[in-house]
C-alpha cells in the first residue's frame, strides 16, 4: 500500500467516543436547521434534472463507458501526458508549471502575478484546495471571485457547500441580507434578478480593471495544450479574455490525450451535474488566445487594429498553466483511491445522496471537497483524519453509482477509507497491545465497539435467536438500552429487532423440507436464509418458500454463512472478504448442481452481485452472481417462463388492501431490480405507487446510531410526504427500509412476497 491517505495534518485528541458523538449530533442538527432546506431544494432539483435528461438519452451508457475508458488510460499514462502537454503548451507560447503541493503552487502563482493589484477568478475548486486566496492576500494581491455563488461565499467568508453550487446552502433572502450588509446600497437588491444584476455590475467593473485572470480547467488536452472550461454565467469567458495574463490552475488528473477525447465528457458533464444537455458556455481554448486585450482606461482607442485579423495567438497575451499534484500522484499508486482521479467534479454523487440532501457539504465534506467522492479526495489530499470527519455519512446506499458519469464506485472508496480509519484508531487504542492471535477475527483488536457490534450482526442475531425471548426482553429493558446507547451508540428511540425463537431454517426442517418433490419441480432453488430473514423477519422467508412452491419450485433452505454485508458497511473489509469466501464455498456445489440461489434481502443480493467481484476469483464471482436472484426478480422470471400469476393471488390476508405504497430498496434500485417487484405486483392486480426517494435514510444500521438518528429521520421525510396522506399498504423489500417506514409512518411495512404468497394452509 502506498502512502496516500496516510499522512494527516492534525492528531486525534483522546476524547471519548461519547463526546465525539455528541459534537457530531450538534453539528448535524445545526446544518439541518440552517442550511438543510436550501440544500434539499437545490440538490433534489439537480438530481431530478439529471434523471430527466439521461432517461431518454440512449447513448448515455456508452458515453459513460467511453469517458471511463479515457480516464483509465489517461491516469495510467499520466507522466507521459504531462510531458506531451508541456511540449504543446510551450510550443503555443505558454508556460507549464507542475506544482508538488499547495505551497509550491501558491509560490509560483504569487510570483507570476507579480505586482498586480487584482486577480479576477472564475470558479476553481483546486484553488480552494490550495487556499490560493489566502496566499494572494498575504502577498498584497486582491483576489476577486466572479462566479456568483463563489463570490457570495467569499463575501460571507464561508466555504463552498457543493462542488458546482458553492453557495447552494444559502437562499435568496440570505444573499440579499449579505449584499445589504456588505455594500449598504441605496436601493438594496431583493429578487434573484436584481441580485444577479447587482452582482454583474459590481463584478463587471472588477473584471474590467483586473490585471490577471485566473481560471480552473475542466479538462486539459495534452496533444494541443487546450483547455475546456464549462460554465453557465460567462464569467470564465470574461476572466480568460479580458486581462492580458491568464493563469489556469488545475489538478494534474485533468489531462486527456486528444481533443476528440473531450467529446464524451462534454456530453456527460452538464447532464450529470445540472440536468442540462450542455452548459451555456463550453470554452475550448488553446491559449494564449487571439482576442485583442481591451483597455477600458482608453475608451476611445480601437479594440483592435483595423488590419488585425486571423486567429493566431495575440503576442500581448501571456498564459500560464499550473498543474497541481498535492497527493494525486500518490493516489495514482493507490489501488483503491486511484479511481477518485477519474472524477470530473460534476456533483451528481452529492445530488443523489439522501444524507447530502439533508445536511449539505459543510457536514458531508472535508477541507475542500463535498459529497460522496470527497471521501477519496480528502483521504488522498488531506489525509485520513479529515476524511474520517464525515466518512460515516456514506452509508453505502449506492445511489450515486449510477449517477456518476465516469462510473466511479464511490461507496467502495468510502468503505476502504473507513477500513483504514478503523485500523488506525485501533492501532492507537488501549487494545493494541493484544497479540494478533487474540483478536477475534480479521479485524484489529481495538476496533471501535459500536462498529464491531453492528458489523457482527450475524453473531448477535444467532445469539438473540437462541436466547429469545430473554434477549428480546432484555433488549427492551431501559438499563440495557441505556448501556447500548452509551457503549455502542445504538439510539434508544429506535425499536431493536425482535429475534425469532424458531429460525427459518428450523421452521423449514420442522415442516419436513420441500413440499414440491424434485421430480415434479420446474426449478431447484436455494432460498438463502440471510441473517434477518433467518432470525428476525422469518415470516417473509416463509412467504418466499410458499410463493416459490406455488410456482412449482423445489425449494431448499440450508443453513448458510452470512453474506458479509454488515461488516462491509462498518469498513471491516477483511471480515467481509472472509464471509464472501465462506458463502461461496457453501454455495458452490449448489451452483454446480444448477440450483438457483434466491435472496430475500436486497442488500445481501447486492453483495453477491456487486461487491463480491472484489473478493472472489472472476470465474467464481461470475458463476455465483449469475445464479443468484432477488426473490421478486426470480418470481418474475418464473412467470415469464410459463408459471401462472394465478397461483400467487387469492390469499386471505385481511391486512391486505389492493392499493400499495412501494419504496424500492436503494441498492436494489442501483441493480435495476425494482421493475420486477413493480411488474409482479401489478400483474397480481395491485395498484402500486412507487416512491422516487433515493434512500429511506435507515441504510442498514446507520439510522440506529445515536448521532445519526435525527438525520436518518430527516432523510426519510420525503417518504412521509409521498405516502403519509394515504392509507396504502406500505411495501418494502429491505428490512431496514421496513423498520424506517414503520418509524416514519407508524404502520408496518410488508415485504412484497408476503402480498403474493398463498396462505400457509393453501400451500401443498
Amino acid at each position: 500500500m502506498s502512502r496516500a491517505g496516510q499522512g494527516d495534518r492534525t492528531e486525534r485528541g483522546d476524547r471519548t467516543g461519547r463526546d465525539e458523538r455528541a459534537d457530531r449530533t450538534a453539528r448535524i442538527r445545526e446544518a439541518m436547521r440552517e442550511e438543510g432546506d436550501a440544500i434539499a431544494e437545490h440538490t433534489r432539483e439537480h438530481n431530478a434534472g439529471r434523471k430527466a435528461v439521461t432517461e431518454d438519452f440512449p447513448e448515455y451508457e456508452t458515453l459513460r463507458e467511453r469517458a471511463r475508458a479515457v480516464k483509465e488510460d489517461a491516469i495510467e499514462n499520466l507522466p507521459d501526458l504531462v510531458d506531451r502537454l508541456r511540449e504543446s503548451v510551450e510550443a503555443n507560447g505558454g508556460h507549464l508549471y507542475v506544482a508538488d503541493d499547495a505551497a509550491d503552487a501558491n509560490r509560483y502563482i504569487v510570483e507570476t502575478v507579480g505586482d498586480a493589484e487584482t486577480v479576477v477568478k472564475s470558479k476553481s475548486m483546486t484553488t480552494e484546495e490550495i487556499d490560493l486566496n489566502d496566499a494572494l492576500e498575504a502577498a498584497g494581491v486582491e483576489p476577486v471571485e466572479t462566479d456568483l455563488g463563489e463570490w457570495v461565499i467569499q463575501l460571507a467568508e464561508e466555504s463552498p457547500s457543493h462542488l458546482i453550487g458553492p453557495a447552494m446552502h444559502k437562499d435568496r433572502a440570505e444573499i440579499a441580507a449579505l449584499f445589504a450588509e456588505v455594500f449598504d446600497p441605496a436601493d438594496p437588491p431583493e429578487t434573484a434578478t436584481e441580485l444577479t444584476a447587482f452582482a454583474r455590475e459590481m463584478l463587471g467593473k472588477r473584471i474590467r480593471e483586473a490585471d490577471v485572470g485566473l481560471t480552473g480547467a475542466n479538462f486539459v488536452v495534452a496533444e494541443s495544450g487546450s483547455l475546456a472550461l464549462v460554465t453557465n454565467e460567462g464569467n470564465a469567458r470574461k476572466v480568460a479574455s479580458t486581462p492580458d495574463t491568464h493563469i489556469a490552475v488545475s489538478g494534474v488528473e485533468k489531462i486527456v490525450p486528444t481533443v476528440e477525447d473531450l467529446e464524451p465528457f462534454l456530453n456527460l458533464l452538464s447532464r450529470a451535474g445540472a440536468g442540462q444537455e450542455l452548459s451555456a458556455y463550453t470554452s475550448l481554448l488553446t491559449p494564449p488566445v487571439a482576442s485583442p486585450v481591451p483597455d477600458f482606461d482608453a475608451p476611445d482607442e480601437p479594440l483592435s487594429a483595423p488590419d488585425d485579423e486571423g486567429t493566431t495567438a495575440n503576442p500581448d497575451r501571456e498564459f500560464h498553466l499550473v498543474l497541481i499534484d498535492n497527493g494525486r500522484l500518490a493516489m495514482r499508486e493507490d489501488e483503491d483511491l486511484r479511481e477518485t482521479l477519474y472524477c470530473v467534479r460534476c456533483g451528481a454523487c452529492a445530488n443523489s445522496c439522501g444524507n447530502f440532501q439533508s445536511v449539505g457539504g459543510h457536514v458531508f465534506g472535508g477541507e475542500t471537497y463535498t459529497g460522496g467522492i470527497a471521501g477519496g479526495w480528502e483521504a488522498g489530499i488531506e489525509g485520513l483524519n479529515v476524511a474520517g470527519e464525515f466518512n460515516d455519512l456514506c452509508t453505502g446506499c449506492s445511489r450515486c453509482v449510477p449517477a456518476c458519469p465516469v462510473k466511479i464506485d464511490i461507496p467502495w472508496i468510502n468503505t476502504v477509507v473507513r477500513d483504514r480509519i478503523n485500523r488506525r484508531k485501533a492501532d492507537a487504542s488501549d487494545f493494541a497491545f493484544l497479540p494478533d492471535g487474540l483478536a477475534p477475527d480479521a479485524e484489529p483488536a481495538g476496533l471501535d465497539l459500536g462498529k464491531r457490534f453492528v458489523g457482527d450482526f450475524a453473531t448477535l442475531a444467532k445469539w438473540g435467536h437462541r436466547t429469545a425471548p430473554l434477549a428480546n426482553r432484555l433488549a427492551d429493558a431501559g438499563p440495557v438500552r441505556a448501556a447500548l446507547e452509551r457503549v455502542v451508540g445504538i439510539d434508544r428511540r429506535r425499536d431493536l429487532p425482535t429475534f425469532a425463537s424458531e429460525s427459518l431454517v428450523e421452521w423449514f426442517d420442522r415442516r419436513g423440507g420441500a413440499r414440491i418433490p424434485l421430480a415434479d419441480a420446474d426449478r431447484d432453488a436455494i432460498l438463502y436464509p440471510d441473517t434477518y430473514t433467518n432470525y428476525v423477519d422469518v415470516e417473509r422467508g416463509k412467504a418466499a418458500v410458499r410463493a416459490l412452491e406455488a410456482l412449482g419450485v423445489h425449494v431448499r433452505v440450508p443453513s448458510l454463512p452470512p453474506s458479509g454485508r454488515p461488516p462491509l458497511s462498518q469498513g471491516m473489509v477483511a471480515t467481509a472478504e472472509e464471509r464472501a469466501h465462506d458463502l461461496y464455498a457453501a454455495l458452490a456445489e449448489h451452483v454446480d448442481a444448477d440450483r438457483d440461489v434466491v435472496v430475500v434481502e436486497p442488500s445481501d443480493l447486492a453483495m453477491i452481485r456487486s461487491e463480491y467481484e472484489r473478493f472472489l476469483e472472476p470465474a467464481a464471482f461470475e458463476r455465483l452472481a449469475g445464479a443468484s436472484y432477488e426473490v421478486l426478480e426470480y418470481v418474475y422470471g418464473l412467470l415469464e417462463n410459463g408459471a401462472s400469476i394465478d397461483a400467487l393471488v387469492g390469499g386471505d390476508d385481511a391486512t391486505r388492501t389492493s392499493e400499495l405504497a412501494y419504496h424500492p430498496h436503494c441498492q436494489a434500485r442501483t441493480l435495476d431490480l425494482e421493475v420486477y417487484t413493480l411488474t409482479v405486483l401489478e400483474r397480481a392486480g395491485y395498484d402500486v405507487r412507487t416512491s422516487d426517494t433515493e434512500c429511506c435514510g435507515m441504510a442498514g444500521s446507520f439510522g440506529y446510531k445515536t448521532e445519526y438518528y435525527e438525520l436518518s429521520i430527516d432523510v426519510g421525510e420525503p417518504l412521509v410526504e409521498d405516502f403519509g396522506g394515504t392509507d396504502r399498504t406500505l411495501v418494502a423489500s429491505g428490512t431496514s427500509c421496513g423498520e424506517q417506514l414503520d418509524a416514519l409512518l407508524d404502520r408496518p411495512a410488508r415485504h412484497p412476497i408476503e402480498l403474493l404468497a398463498p396462505p400457509d394452509s393453501a400451500s401443498r
Binding site: 437545490h42 503555443n92 456568483l148 455563488g149 453550487g165 453557495a167 444559502k170 437562499d171 435568496r172 444573499i175 434573484a192 434578478t193 441580485l195 444577479t196 452582482a199 454583474r200 463584478l203 473584471i207 474590467r208 488536452v221 496533444e223 494541443s224 453557465n232 454565467e233 460567462g234 464569467n235 469567458r237 470574461k238 479574455s241 479580458t242 481533443v259 476528440e260 462534454l266 445540472a274 450542455l278 451555456a280 458556455y281 463550453t282 470554452s283 475550448l284 488553446t286 491559449p287 488566445v289 487571439a290 482576442s291 485583442p292 481591451p294 483597455d295 477600458f296 482608453a298 475608451p299 476611445d300 482607442e301 480601437p302 479594440l303 483592435s304 488585425d308 485579423e309 486571423g310 486567429t311
Partner: protein, 165 residues
Amino acid sequence: MSIETTFRESLSELDVAVTRTTPGSCADAIADAADGKTIGVPLPEGLTLPPDVIDRPTNGDLETAETGVTPATLGIAETGSVHLESDRAGTELVSLYPQRHVAVLRTEDLVSDVATAIDRLGPDLRAGGSGVIATGPSATADMGSLVVGAHGPGEVHVVLVEAGR
C-alpha cells in the same frame, strides 16, 4: 427531421430567436435582430453588417454597446449551440459583453451533434485556435433561483443565412 429543423427546435427550447435569411437580406435581418447601440466584427465574405453597426468598436464601445454581432463558425443542431471563434477582430469579446448577442451562421455550417462539432474543431484547436460553444443565453442559479442573463448576454438571436445570394 432535417438538421435545420432540429436546430430550430433546439433554439426554441433555449428561448433563442432565429431569423432565416439570404445573403442579400442578411444585413436587414441583423438590423431587425439588433437593439440599441450595436457593435460588430467583420462577417465572412459575401455577408455585410448593416450600416449603423459600429464595425470597428473602441474599448469604450465594448463597454457600452447593447448588442454585439459576430459570425458563428458552426451550429450544433441537437443542442442549439453556436461556435464562436476567438479572433484578432474580437469575436469573443463582442459576443460576450453586450446584453444581446446576434450570431450570424450559414446553413452549410450546421452539424448534427457535439461529436461532429468536436471532430470539426479538432484541427483548429491543434493549430492554436480557440473559441466557445455557446448554448443559449448566460444564466445563473446562484441567487436563489434561475436567472437568465448573468455575466454574458441575456438574449441571443441567431441569423441563419442560406446558401446563394
